[in-house]
């Protein structure tokens, strides 16, 4: 029946916060900026795989969350990256919302455990003894006709508008990536074209930007973990990447 399709739609697809929370819970992490930056790549991969046309509209809200995540990650790796006040608010609000959702989930487990266990039942059958024909004054063809219009008017529209809760919406992944790339470049005062080119090779040009940013963030992660050594002779020179071998440590 039709109702089931509603359940499927909402059950299987519960939005970006749900996905993010599952990723954090899967790794048994606490909700904070560190854990958020850790699950960023996985989250980006999830968006890429989000192809079902039914969910295209939902994609906007995923992109909005993704842009906050990338910002958190970029900032943790590049302390020189400037973040606006509004962005700081977005980051804090995301953390708070995730904690709220996690809290609600915890309580909802208790509700689930209690649901249907000890039921208070309504009074059973309708009282048959007063079942006599008792039409009211407002039963008329004219009123029935009006009621028809109301019923038809109130049928749910198949294509509801998507209200986006407080987080500013970003038009597309590309746009978001463009902006972020510029900012990162400014922050490190350099370029990383070769690295970017090599990782983006063969990728759909539309997705190239995304690869660049994500790869670059991954690269920075490695630097932070002392896995590789990065040098740059001069401003705007190529970034030289060397792996740190064991015997050098």
């Amino acid at each position: 029946m039709q109702t089931n399709t509603y359940i499927v739609k909402t059950e299987h697809f519960e939005g970006p916060l749900d996905v993010l929370l599952s990723l954090i819970e899967k790794r048994k992490l606490l909700i904070n900026q560190v854990s958020l930056s850790m699950v960023t790549e996985e989250f980006m991969r999830f968006i890429e795989e989000l192809q079902d046309p039914i969910f295209i509209k939902e994609k906007t809200s995923f992109v909005a969350i993704a842009s906050i995540l990338l910002l958190i990650k970029a900032r943790s790796l590049l302390p020189t990256l400037t973040v606006t006040e509004e962005e700081t608010e977005d980051i804090e609000s995301l953390e708070k919302r995730l904690k709220a959702l996690e809290f609600v989930r915890g309580i909802s487990k208790k509700i689930e455990a209690q649901y249907g266990k000890k039921i208070i039942y309504n009074q059973g059958n309708f009282k048959k003894d007063i079942c006599i024909f008792a039409p009211s004054k407002d039963i008329s063809i004219a009123n029935i006709q009006e009621a028809v219009l109301r019923v038809l008017h109130k049928l749910p529209k198949p294509d509801p508008k998507m209200p986006e809760a407080k987080i500013r919406t970003v038009v597309s992944i590309e746009e978001m990536m463009n902006t972020l790339t510029t900012r990162i470049q400014r922050a490190i005062n350099g370029t990383f074209s070769q690295f970017a080119k090599s990782t983006a090779a063969g990728a759909d040009p539309k997705e190239a930007k995304q690869h660049v940013v994500v790869s670059f963030l991954a690269l920075l992660e490695l630097v932070k973990q002392n896995m590789i050594f990065v040098s740059q002779e001069q401003m705007f020179d190529e970034i030289d990447i060397k792996s740190v071998t064991n015997n050098e440590q």
Binding site: G124, D138, L155
Partner: protein, 176 residues
Amino acid sequence: MHTQQIEAYLFFKGEPVTIKEISHDLKITKEEVVDALQELERAHSETKRGIVLVQYDDVITLGTHPDTSDLITTLTKEELQRDLGKSALETLTIILYQGPITRSKIDHIRGVNSQFILRNLLMRGLISRVSDPSDDRSFVYTPSLDLLTHLGVSKIEDLPDFENVGTTLKRFIEGE
């Protein structure tokens, strides 16, 4: 004791039951039923209750206290004369144009639960309820003949725009 169970049972049933039925459903002996009923009657008379046990021979039901009969008579009259109101009219309309129809389909079209409205429409004899031929655990609702007569339509197809409305609703239910 079984008084609590019996009171809940009678309340849920909402129609007269025999001692035999109670004994069967509660899985207790008839003597235990009789004892519990006496206990329940005592409890009802001790506290100033609005609900009392009504017994005739071995048939039992719950009813309103005789002291409240004036109130109940007035209410019954008022209830049957009162206008249906928008929600009930809409529900009635759906049953007119789509009956026989199950409650879940009505709920689906209206987007809200119609349990109590259906009860009210049934009580007023505007609709009737029969077992769903395709699933005898549930019911379907149809307009009563009295209702059609009252509306002055000799057959259901005479309702305004019957074809179109019917088709639109049907299409919605089937999820197109």
